[in-house]
Amino acid sequence: MEFLSYLSPMFFVLIVAGALVGVIFGAIPGMTATMAVAVCLPLTYALDLTNGLALLLGLYVGGISGGMVPAVLLNIPGTPSSITTTFDGYPMAKKGEGERALKISIVASLFGGLFSAGVLFYFAPLLADFAIKFSYVEKFLIIFLALTVIASLTKNMLMGIFSGVLGVWLSLIGTYEITDGGNGETRLMFDFMEYYLVSGFSLLPVLIGIFGITTILQDAEKGFKGDAASPTIKLTTGSRFSFNVFKGQLTNLVRSSSIGTFVGMLPGVGGSAASVLAYTQEKNFSRDSSQMGNGAPQGLVASESSNNALTGGALVPLLSLGIPGDSTTAILIGAFTLQGIQVGPLFIGDNLDTWYIMIAALVLANLVMFGIMFFAIRYIAKVIEVPKHILYPIIVMMCVVGAYAINYGIMFDVWTLLIFGVFGYIATKVGIELVPLIIGFILGGSAEVYFVKSLESYGTLTVFFTKSPIAVFLWALIVLSLAFSIYIRLRARKKESLASYS
């Protein structure tokens, strides 16, 4: 318990400050956890390692959690990993249960965060050894699995798949980056577009364009008359929050948190896959998933517990292999090296004190996040009572900030907002589904790299089936998940036709 001597009042102050700033960053559409950590990194130069970590981990946990706020209240995911939170959160908010939805999400987040911190603490080195069993082939299959779950999220199967593939296609525009091992050539564009499209479309501007700007255009079309002008949503007309919601959700919590932790562990797979996987697994395997998508608490629980579980998961490869699990932990490496601390397979053994401090900071950050959000949520949720003619212009402005800042100042990213805002508007008119599209877009890039690299390494398609027992297991999951989504669709259709007869 020697590490306790490192914990000063400053340590707690910084965790609270970090979590608070993180929550605010996460809650503003367009700002992300990664950005929060990146902009505060220079502040840690002046701090020692312990306090620096307190601040950064607070920011990380707060940022990931804050993403639920706009997802629930505005239908705009604050961070890519809170897409699935919109599915049930926004319908609940529309029913007047915004506060309840947020409180459910916060409790689920806390569970996910603590669960993954526990897993990190007890199993990190073991899990790292397991994670390196995932080569190109297995990583591709994980991504493929996440892509196939699109099928169970769509309203119309054919259009949904088309939308997903379109998302993948859009993500491939640009350069086959040499930093991914590609050859640095551009594709899917005409020469004259190269100046703008050389780096392709960035994820965050696409995401907030498609969710934020599209929503604004759709409301503008309706003209803000009558109902649309004033906020249609009343804050607390629906049922109130109580912990009874979590009855029977333990399996869901544990499953979703495990998925979150595990996907967070795999470098290069991308955190957004975690919440998508967790959400669809809940949909496929829970006893009653008929209300999911219309405001079912279980959907929120799956989404939010898995995306907060990413935090502990992403720290596993960082602390036991020296490899960041996601873009945010990549910045943490910078913080370590600045303090002269090396990360790698021997990190934990060499720096036991730092290791305990990190776990303590992570657990505390989750508790603080819970404290801040659970009690502040009543005021935060008031956002939706702001009239739209005030709220929407501010959202556009904040989307601009987020888009411009995500790649440290690229004007084309701001235009991407508008391009995808208009695209999203037209796409919904012709029946393209935006959620599968964005999931395809998020996963497309890594799907390509791992697919092409698998083939380059092994030279045959059969390797996807024969590479390892893990690959076979993943195929089983893929088949199972497809079968379930078809089964659920048929069952729903049967119910519908029965209902229409009676």
Binding site: V39, C40, L166, N183, E185, T186, K222, K225, M397, V400
Partner: protein, 147 residues
């Protein structure tokens, strides 16, 4: 026999061409799905297009042309001027600050239903306070790069 069968699955990718390998597959799948959709839904396509065209051209009920196209127009102007003004005061974020204020004001006025004095006052205050606050906190305190 078996090896012949297996050789069907063999793929070799030249590194110089590897940037096209996956996009080609995806493009073909996309076109295939598109053809399938057109085949299945051919009947619905033309009337839907006509309806959309009418909505845009004549602004039928439920399509507010002024606010819809006004929004797009304002956003285009906003983005464009932001870069222009930003170049006049490089690396300060003034482009963002100075252009956001009129943008928020005009967009709010466009959206507000009743242009009462009280509403306009709130809009005006918001149009100044929100950008200044955002600019000050993000650009000055957190040193985030703004246009």
């Amino acid at each position: 026999m078996e090896s012949q069968f297996l050789s069907l699955f063999e793929v070799s990718i030249a590194f110089e061409e590897s940037h096209l390998f996956f996009p080609r597959i995806v493009t073909w799948v996309l076109l295939g799905l598109f053809a399938l959709i057109v085949l299945i839904k051919a009947k619905k396509v033309t009337p839907a297009l006509r309806r959309a065209g009418q909505a845009v051209m004549h602004g039928n009920e439920g399509f507010d042309r002024k606010r819809f196209f006004g929004t797009i127009f304002l956003i285009v102007i906003y983005f464009y001027l932001m870069a222009v003004v930003g170049n006049v005061f490089p690396n300060t974020g003034y482009g963002f600050l100075f252009v956001s204020i009129p943008f928020i004001f005009v967009l709010s006025v466009l959206y507000v239903e009743e242009k009462t004095k009280k509403n306009l006052l709130v809009i005006a205050i918001n149009a100044v306070v929100a950008p200044v606050l955002a600019w000050y906190v993000l650009s000055q305190l957190f040193r985030i790069t703004l246009p």
